[in-house]
């Protein structure tokens, strides 16, 4: 066959598009990966805050008369409040009976899903559900239903959402709590869920559909702010605060990072201070609101915490200046370097290298990483290469450190030099900025 014929044949083969690239398959594959990515991100943040929030919740029960009375009078609300104790905004909403009885049922070949209670506002929907699997041999397995898609049944439009899509409840709990962020409030909702078996790596099975009403949604309270903050030359504009029943959003423009390909401000920690209450930020499922230079931070408190006047404050800002981003590792010397010299708190950990060549993986130990915070000191490009991470203790001095191990095939290595992109703060500022919101 001559070259032209070969080329024509190859081009003909390309015209036959595989079924795997059907529109439905693409949407499901991409959305599932995005959910998993968001869930992993949210889990990293929540893991560090849940323990603290549980303590705060217990203090609330013991000291707030109104709170403890409401939950003790109504056993169901008490139980629901306990299930969402990881989020004070949700807890407050339940305390004020901002929850709708649904008792909707969806069934397919695999099992039955019961959605008994729902809370919904303009930003979030929280489902309290239970599942029963028909195949008794699977009842002890850790398989679970996941929410695949959601529609507004009034308009027929598919609803965009993000968050933990699993409907898997903890052992000995009455309900699974599925908390999702969505783009706006929807009154009549239909959910499609599929069953995932961890021992079977194929796509989800079954197709359980549940329809329900989400109850009345309270209006959004919006406050325009427009305050400039200057933190050692880094400039920010706080533009708006929106309060929903279950959460509060704060819009901030990172003036130095607008329309750049990289944000130097990694994180900001706002708080709301009322007469007797202090509420701090939460994170996770709002990552989809992200746009370079414009951030929306979420604080887990809504309508029910503050009265007419409260304080919005900024407690902490984490900054990684542009010039500090790149860190290189010389595999011959094992030394990490950035633009300003040796990065002495990054060390090689269990290095598998032979003659300056990595064998399987590169493990990095970060002695400055905060304990309990997952090894998040590399950016998402490197996180794709992560094959293991965690905390460990130095046997010699007893200090705890974070480490991360990376797949060498996914790293940028040239002439024995590994280039890494860091994602940890160089400066942590405490600006003590506050403004009164009326």
């Amino acid at each position: 066959m001559d070259r032209i014929n070969e080329l024509n044949k190859l081009m003909e083969e390309c015209d036959s598009i595989p079924k795997a690239l059907s529109d439905d398959n693409i949407i499901r594959t991409v959305k599932r990966r995005a959910f998993k990515h968001n869930a992993a991100k949210a889990a990293r943040t929540l893991a560090g805050t849940i323990a603290v929030l549980l303590i705060v919740f217990m203090v609330g029960v013991n000291t707030s008369h109104a709170f403890s009375k409401a939950v003790s009078d109504i056993p169901v609300l008490k139980m629901l409040a306990r299930l969402v104790s990881f989020n004070k905004g949700y807890t407050d909403a339940i305390n004020h009976k901002y929850v709708t009885e649904v008792f909707a049922v969806g069934e397919d070949d695999i099992g039955t899903i019961y959605v008994d209670y729902v809370m919904a506002d303009e930003r979030s929907i929280v489902l309290f559900s239970n599942t029963k699997i028909k195949d008794k041999s699977k009842s002890d397995a850790r398989g679970y239903f996941c929410i695949e898609r959601m529609w507004d049944t009034d308009t027929g439009e598919e609803i965009e959402f993000a968050g933990f899509v699993s409907m898997q409840k903890e052992e000995n709990e009455e309900y699974c709590v599925t908390s999702l962020a969505w783009d706006c409030y929807h009154k009549n909702v239909m959910i499609e869920a599929k069953y995932y078996d961890p021992e079977d790596d194929s796509q989800g099975k079954g197709n359980a559909v549940i329809c329900f009403k989400t109850g009345e949604c309270l209006e959004t309270r919006e406050y325009n702010i427009y305050e400039l903050i200057d933190i050692d030359g880094y400039k920010y504009e706080v533009t708006a605060l929106r309060m929903y029943p279950m959460s509060t959003e704060i819009d901030v423009t990172l003036l130095d990072d607008v329309d750049t390909d990289y944000e130097q401000t990694l994180d900001m920690e706002f708080y709301l201070q009322g007469n007797n209450e202090l509420r701090k930020k939460t994170d996770g499922v709002t990552a989809w609101l992200y746009d370079n230079g414009h951030k929306t931070f979420v604080i887990e408190s809504g309508y029910y915490v503050f009265d007419d006047e409260f304080v919005l404050g900024l407690e902490r800002v984490d900054i990684l200046p542009r010039e500090y981003r790149e860190v290189t590792l010389d595999l011959e010397t094992g030394v990490f370097t950035d633009a300003f010299g040796i990065v002495d708190y990054w060390e090689l950990y269990d290095l598998e290298a032979v003659d300056g060549q990595l064998v399987n993986s590169l493990c990095i130990k970060n002695t400055k990483a905060e304990e309990g915070v997952m090894s998040d000191f590399l950016n998402s490009k490197e996180l794709d290469a992560v094959i293991g991470c965690g905390s460990a203790t130095d046997y010699e001095d007893g200090t705890v450190f974070e480490y991360v191990c990376l797949d060498k095939d996914k790293l940028d290595i040239n002439d024995g030099i590994v280039t890494l992109i860091r994602d940890e703060a160089i400066y942590i500022k405490h600006p003590e900025w506050e403004t009164v919101i009326r």
């Binding site: 015209d15 690239l21 693409i26």
Partner: protein
């Protein structure tokens, strides 16, 4: 860009993405993986695309990056060897075109893929891979000579 708009645009460009990816790899499934990966990366970054009219170009650019890096990995698995730039056309005369395409240097391969499988013109390829038009034309000419393909370069 909203989800629905993103997936509508993906639906229009996916065939072109597959046609570009297919010759890069030894199998249909690897080409599908590459297209899936490119679409996922596009989805995650969709809010960074300021001008939606460049959506197709933007997706093809992402795909080229995926194919080039994916190809590097696939190459290690298959232990295929890319020929050095100084190679003479006679060195790949006796191998099938699909194999020859994988053996020529990446910079030559990508212009062939974009021109004959993606259907782009030289000026468009220049914009896609961010090099001058003259460089594209030179690479294309060299690639065709290496592949013994007597085609009109325009």
């Amino acid at each position: 860009m909203r989800d629905t708009e993103f997936f509508e645009k993906v639906s229009n460009v996916k065939n072109k993405l597959y046609r570009i990816a297919y010759p890069y790899f030894e199998s249909e499934s690897m080409a599908v993986d590459a297209v899936d990966e490119a679409i996922y990366r596009g989805y995650v970054k969709r809010k960074q695309l300021k001008e939606p009219e460049y959506f197709d170009t933007w997706m093809v650019r992402i795909l080229i990056n995926v194919c080039n890096t994916g190809y590097q990995k696939a190459k290690r698995i298959a232990t295929a060897e890319e020929v050095p730039e100084s190679i003479a056309p006679s060195d790949i005369d006796n191998i099938p075109l699909r194999e020859a395409l994988r053996k020529i240097p990446v910079k030559y391969r990508e212009v062939v893929m974009l021109k004959y499988f993606g259907g782009y013109k030289v000026a468009e390829i220049a914009m896609l891979i961010n090099v001058p038009q003259g460089t594209v034309a030179t690479r294309l000419s060299k690639a065709l000579k290496l592949l013994r393909l007597e085609l009109n370069e325009d």
